[in-house]
């Protein structure tokens, strides 16, 4: 088809995007020639804001970096501060943090599965997964009092405690979710239209994973078994058993499969945590001023490695806080992947890498 080169703007506002991001994609007919990326539409300067607030306030500030993986952000931040304080956090608090991390992973992956299906025109799966996600959000709301901003973490422990009722609810909802995810996995593994749309699209090779520092499910879908729950585990992951799921293909379909299987693995982890969670206190008192020092914390967010660098100068405010979210390296490779594909593949590429713009912009 002969057609001159035109530029389609995707974003800052577009039905494809759930968060603002500007992509200018040049196409010739149905063929995509290349893309240009512009970030910063949700840049809130959190790294700068954090140095003018005390640590207690910062926990809540950091929670608002992202609406999906808010808990793992605060977990990483609190762990960083606790390491500087040399604080022995009770084991029960660690387990509750891990439980919420896993619930968050389930809800993030289900949310993503829904968005991918919506983008390839399969609204049914979108509705079904988002319904299943409600089961997790119900647990979250019951546990922490908020569906997405949990305010569970505090420096020195957690603010909530699990009781019998919570455990019952979690077990009930997780077992319901088991059936639903089983069905979902069957559909995604076997549905030929999903396969037709996702297989072979935007293949990320292991070399590119290394070059761009890609982490999380996307790296695992390219066969690189990088998972900071086992590579550099925050407690209690060193005492939990779980499988790292990898797929060799590296395309959008492999990423789908990896994520859905991870939901499965996370549900097993939740059940495991409920079984082995020790009794005891959930928090210890923490001093407000943090001794001088630097600390690096790496945590496994739903999208991959979450990196926190914290330097304290002995006051009650951090001197420098650097946050690297897993979406940033993915965004770097995105423009490279947005060429030699069709216009119809753009949603698959964008949705397949599970972008979190709020995380990336900070």
């Amino acid at each position: 088809m002969i057609m001159e080169k035109i530029t389609i703007p995707i974003g800052p506002q577009h039905p494809l995007l759930k968060e603002p991001l500007s992509l200018r994609i040049s196409v010739s007919g149905e063929r995509v020639l290349g893309g240009e990326l512009r970030l910063g539409y949700v840049h809130r300067g959190i790294e700068k804001l954090a140095v003018s607030r005390n640590y207690t306030q910062n926990v809540h500030l950091i929670e608002r970096i992202c609406g999906i993986c808010s808990h793992v952000h605060t977990t990483a931040f609190c762990t960083a501060v606790e390491r500087l304080l040399n604080l022995e956090v009770p084991a029960r608090a660690h387990y509750i943090r891990a439980l919420l991390c896993e619930l968050e992973r389930i809800h993030s992956h289900l949310l993503w599965a829904g968005i991918l299906s919506k983008h390839i025109g399969l609204d049914t799966i979108f509705m079904h997964t988002w319904h299943d996600r409600e089961l997790v959000l119900d647990i979250m709301e019951e546990l922490s009092g908020g569906r997405v901003s949990h305010a569970v973490n505090k420096i020195g422990g957690v603010r909530i405690d699990l009781d019998i009722g919570h455990a019952e609810l979690i077990k009930k909802n997780i077992s319901k979710l088991h059936d639903e995810v089983e069905k979902l996995l069957e559909i995604i593994m076997h549905d030929s239209t999903i396969k037709a749309r996702t297989q072979g699209v935007a293949i990320i090779t292991p070399e590119e994973v290394k070059q761009y520092g890609i982490v999380g499910p996307i790296a695992r879908a390219s066969g690189v078994a990088v998972d900071f729950r086992s590579d550099d585990p925050l407690p209690p992951y060193d005492r939990l058993n779980f499988k790292i799921i990898t797929q060799p293909e590296g395309d959008a379909w492999a990423r789908t499969v990896v994520r859905i299987q991870e939901v499965h693995e996370s549900m097993k982890l939740c059940e495991q945590i409920l079984k082995v969670i020790p009794d005891g206190p959930v928090e210890v008192r923490a001093r407000r001023s943090v001794p001088t020092g630097r600390v690096i914390v790496r945590a496994e967010a739903p999208r991959g490695e979450l990196f926190y660098y914290l330097r304290s100068d002995g006051t009650n405010q951090p001197a420098r806080l650097k946050i690297r979210t897993p979406s940033l390296p993915v965004l770097e490779i995105l423009t490279k992947k947005l060429s030699e594909i069709q216009v119809a593949d753009i949603p698959v590429v964008l949705a397949g890498v599970d972008l979190c713009i709020a995380c990336a912009d900070r």
Binding site: P9, P15, E30, I120, G121, H128, A196, R197
Partner: protein, 309 residues
Amino acid sequence: MILQTLSFILVFPGLLFQVMCGWAFEWLDRKLLARFQRRIGPPWYQPLADWIKLISKEDILTHGSNAFILAALPIISLASVLTAGIYVPVAQFNRFGFEGDLFVILFLLSVPTLAYYLAGIASIGIYSILGGSRSLLQYFSYEVPFLLALSGPAILAESWSIQDIIASQVDMGPFSLFQPLGFLLAIVGLIGKLKRDPLDIPSAKSEIVAGPLTEFSGIKLAFWRLTMNIQAVVGIFLIINLFLSWSFLPSLIISSLIFFVECILLTVILSMASAIFARLRIDQVAGLGWRILVPLASLQLIAVVLMGI
């Protein structure tokens, strides 16, 4: 006499009936889709409410576009589907049938697609232009198998008049029994014609916003929506007439009842198809159309011709 003709055109089976059926179809489709997706779905008056809301909205023109063409296109397409609706027999009520009316209906049903393409080109916008070219590409993919599938009954009945086709089905039994493949292909073609999921490539929301209709708003968009709904209704009526007319119908009431039940069933099939299929890519649609549907339709046609001999 004139009054009677006017009532045919304006009330039944013309404007009013078509519009009502269009809204009923939209409601049923949305409701079914909602239920397949575990939602409640809209109340029965939702399509009407949406339409009223749309016509009360501000009408926005893109800079540099021709106001007259953009206003004319939805009216032309609405008029053509309404005209097609008059010629399609409804529950064996057929006042305007003539030899060759099938051709006229098929032509009139194609007009909205062409208008849709022109709308994409005329409303200056990147998404519209892309959507327009996509709708034309898709048109070439589904139209041939659709025509081939619909000519099956005509060849079997040895007439291009819908009335004759119905009459010969009364003798022989519904044609869908003789040509199930043709029936299926006709449904696929109808999905393509209506630009419904999974063949909603020209208006793929996550890719090109709303395709050619991106820049439309207000009353023009309302007319476009009405056109789509009536096009669906006329298409469903046509397929039911050509493939699913029954021979053993004792009375008019029961035959109308069966006709509408069949229409509802076809709507259910369309809704199910949009619930279980992901949207295809344009190259996949072209491949599907030319590599699978056209050979299958030709096969069906050959079988029909052999049957006729």
